[in-house]
Symmetry: C2
Subunit: 165 residues, 2 copies
């Protein structure tokens, strides 16, 4: 294993960490419960009481997380009325929220691999059309499928506005 492999590229060169998209995304959904709320949202949960029952999170925290996610445009509050009940509102994923799906899939895949005992995973994701298991894969714009992180070259871009190098 060649230690200069990554090192020469970005390790010492201090690119602007404050603009990092990983940090930015974590600032939005990195708080405790946020991603679990989204997991449930992807599974079809929409109502406050259901989130609360299923997650077991404190109501105050849940209120805060839902509000934050709505504020960021990841969920939206939609009024609805169940028969025989008063009007309430439910929380639904927006496109911005739906685009967090790969993040949850990635977290789930890692947990399935390293935390499940005997390969006994609690849930599978299957292709709705053909029923086969789905998984994430890294591909490049030329169509090559990458075999792993080793094939990826991180390239910092200086924030030079007004010119497209």
């Amino acid at each position: 294993m060649n230690s200069a492999h990554y090192a020469g590229c970005v390790s010492e060169a201090l690119w602007d960490r404050s603009r990092c998209s990983v940090a930015g995304t974590l600032a939005v959904v990195g708080e405790k419960w946020s991603l679990l709320v989204l997991r449930e949202a992807f599974l079809g949960v929409r109502r406050f009481a259901d989130f609360q029952r299923v997650l077991g999170a404190p109501k105050a925290v849940l209120t805060d997380r839902l509000t934050t996610l709505v504020d960021h445009g990841i969920l939206r509050r939609v009024p609805y009325q169940a028969p025989g009940e008063r009007q309430r509102h439910e929380y639904r994923l927006t496109q911005k929220g739906i685009d967090l799906h790969p993040t949850l899939v990635a977290l789930m895949a890692w947990g399935d691999r390293y935390l499940a005992e005997d390969g006994d995973v609690p849930m599978e994701l299957r292709h709705r059309d053909c029923g086969e298991l789905v998984h994430l894969s890294l591909v490049c714009d030329a169509g090559h499928e990458l075999s792993g992180a080793r094939d990826v070259l991180p390239v910092p871009r200086a924030p030079d506005h007004g010119g497209d190098g």
Copy 2:
């Protein structure tokens, strides 16, 4: 948009949330700074002082996160000796840690799309061989490329040991 789309599948049926791989993974790397430590590790950072300088995290927190990640087998402590310095140790990704790469890529991709202004992303990932941009994609075992979360069917599996349904 059909609201019964997901609902009929898993929303009300209470599968066992306590074994959820998303929650499990977040329990391991979901604390503040953990994923940012890993981001830097993927960029080649290995030494305590470099993590500290680059992340700006409090030393105590950083010590705790690094220790936790080592305990979970995501990083490993490797002794090394720089010329003219005493022996120290550095933190390197294990395979288990490298397998968290897709999670970081997913987080980064979302941030690039929704948080970067003018498409001015701070860093790009390129295929080391051909230089093209890389991105995550959902594929199924039959080789179909899924167009999005809508094509995915979550299937809870009961923890029935001893029988492969």
